[in-house]
């Protein structure tokens, strides 16, 4: 019997491609964010509401990930923003290889900001590095304030968290106190925003944070 030490990451294939993409994004000076939430939390609607302002200032492109259909990409295309749809045909997350393939369809020349909308899922996308500068998690009021404690991984890996649908707060038992206590304990560095994509409330502060990210080459400005 022989034992051989391997010590090789099982996610190596993804990590290798992510490293390659990260260096490409750095060379081209492109800031990349990876939007993650459960289905229906409002990722696409938040993009619809923020892209007009973002694209007036920057050259922005979007990669849309869904299990099926190109409905989200059609919604983004209406805003005259370049968009590529990835249909995973069942896979629960996007991986770096899918991003690399999607990039073939995008013109990266002069691009400032690439927004990747992951497949709606609060669990699996947390594991796969897409060469983003920041993971941004979105939670909606209707999902309940206990979700950060129940699905902590994504909250600990994200740089920013949007609490969406705050217009529904009066009609729900969502506890802001419990929510903030939990997210601060899970990830003290997490930037939090309260927004309503429906009314537009709070979105400008998130846009300002994104602008800071772009201005700092993907790094957060915490001064």
């Amino acid at each position: 019997m022989t034992q051989v030490k391997i010590e090789k990451s099982i996610l190596q294939a993804n990590e290798d491609i992510a490293r390659e993409l990260r260096s490409k994004f750095k060379d081209e000076n492109i800031t990349v964010i990876n939007l993650i939430s459960s289905p229906g939390a409002g990722k696409t609607t938040i993009l619809e509401k923020t892209l007009p302002e973002l694209s007036s200032k920057y050259k922005v492109a979007v990669i849309e990930g869904d299990v099926l259909t190109s409905r989200d990409a059609e919604r983004i295309a209406k805003l005259q923003v370049p968009v590529v749809q990835i249909e995973t045909k069942g896979a629960c997350h996007l991986d770096a290889k899918m991003i690399k393939k999607a990039l073939e369809e995008l013109d990266l020349e002069g691009l400032d900001l690439l927004i990747i909308e992951n497949v709606g899922n609060l669990v699996c996308p947390a594991t796969f590095d897409l060469a983003e500068d920041a993971k941004v998690v979105i939670l909606s009021v209707a999902e309940g304030s206990d979700k950060p404690a129940k699905y902590p991984t994504i909250f600990t890996r994200a740089k920013a968290c949007l609490l969406n649908k705050i217009d529904l707060l009066p009609y729900s038992n969502f506890s802001l106190e419990d929510y903030y206590r939990d997210v601060k304990q899970i990830n003290p560095k997490l930037q939090t925003f309260e927004v309503s994509a429906f009314t537009g409330e709070g979105l400008e502060t998130f846009v300002e944070w994104l602008e800071g990210l772009v201005a700092n080459g993907g790094q957060e400005n915490r001064n």
């Binding site: 051989v4 030490k5 010590e7 991984t153 890996r157 003290p188």
Partner: protein, 123 residues
């Protein structure tokens, strides 16, 4: 649930190493899995069983060692489980610290029979 994709990658790594080391059979595969990777051991084992069919890794025992996500307090240096306390130190109540364990996911080692060993046994 993405264990099938991970199992595919696992089989590839193991078979490549087995070949490079002249194995004719892999008997044990030791995997280290950090809590934050969120791998479900049963699902990984099932995927592995299916995908290792007709490879050098077929029939190998998968030993998955899970590592708890652990925070080291930036103030008092105490190490504690993230699952229970998040980033709030139970010793000094300082919020913050650094995760020192929990993101690992790798093949630690493989065990098996090399071609030479097999020949010596049968000879």
């Amino acid at each position: 649930m993405h264990e099938l994709a991970l199992a595919q990658s696992l089989v590839e790594i193991v078979c490549e190493a087995a070949q490079a080391n002249n194995f004719c059979k892999v008997t044990t595969i030791a995997v280290v899995s950090g809590e934050l990777v969120g791998v479900v051991p049963d699902a990984l084992e099932f995927g592995f069983e299916v995908l290792s069919q007709d490879t050098l890794a077929q029939g190998a025992k998968l030993e998955i060692r899970q590592l708890a996500a652990t925070i080291k307090c930036s103030s008092c240096g105490f190490e504690y489980p993230w699952q229970t306390y998040g980033y709030l130190c139970p010793q000094c109540s300082k919020l913050g610290g650094e995760m020192i364990q929990g993101n690992e996911f790798y093949v630690d080692y493989i065990e098996g029979e090399t071609k030479e060993e097999k020949e010596n046994d049968s000879g």
